[in-house]
Symmetry: C2
Amino acid sequence: MSNYRDDQIKHFADVFKALSNHNRLRMFLHLVTCCVPGTVGSFDAETGVSACVGDLGRDLEIVPSTVSHHIKELHRAGLIRMERRGQKIECWVDPVILRGLARFFQEPLK
Amino acid sequence: MSNYRDDQIKHFADVFKALSNHNRLRMFLHLVTCCVPGTVGSFDAETGVSACVGDLGRDLEIVPSTVSHHIKELHRAGLIRMERRGQKIECWVDPVILRGLARFFQEPLK
DNA sequence: TCGATAGTTCGACATATATCGAAATATAAT
DNA sequence: ATTATATTTCGATATATGTCGAACTATCGA
């Protein structure tokens, strides 16, 4: 037996699981702060700040295979979006889910 | 080497871990909706709605030892407060952390 | 003091997770 | 074509987690 509310709870539990790992939360915050929400790629050629997989690993000192694994988790949970740009794969935080999460703690599921 | 920001990230990762389990999130939401925030005990004699460990287990169909285990986790993460009232132990959600979480997604750690 | 009720702790088990390095795949540049 | 760069997949390993039932502890009421 499954209902809408329970599915919603499962969804949020899944999102929180994605954010429950130290490195994953660091990656998420890095993406939130370095990327213009909603801007695909969100690459700043001036400062060199970007959000591709490799940069995340370099900035946060996590090996590529681990970054890849975590990125996949964040994506699976719907927290980030990704798009190939040549060799690189750019990621950015989905602003919609960010608002949804703020709301969750303001007026939790009734 | 550890800094303030990183400690904050660890703290939030810990909070999200507490909310990442389906049953634990259900318990948390149950407490949020059935309890007057900040009211110790938050017991409504009229409706019979309460928030003690046993009631949680009954309402959500989770065996006592599991409820106890999850309550401990929620408490450890600072999400709930508990107070003994005779035989029962009443729990309620800390409204401060609820606001802190809403804020986290509005203006994530810079 | 004894029995009932409420909650915790313990031990066991199955399952999930985080991490790494090596090998594989995809794209771009020469 | 070959090489360099970027990312993913795979396999291994260590560690953490969720759940249960049984045994234990605490508090109340008769």
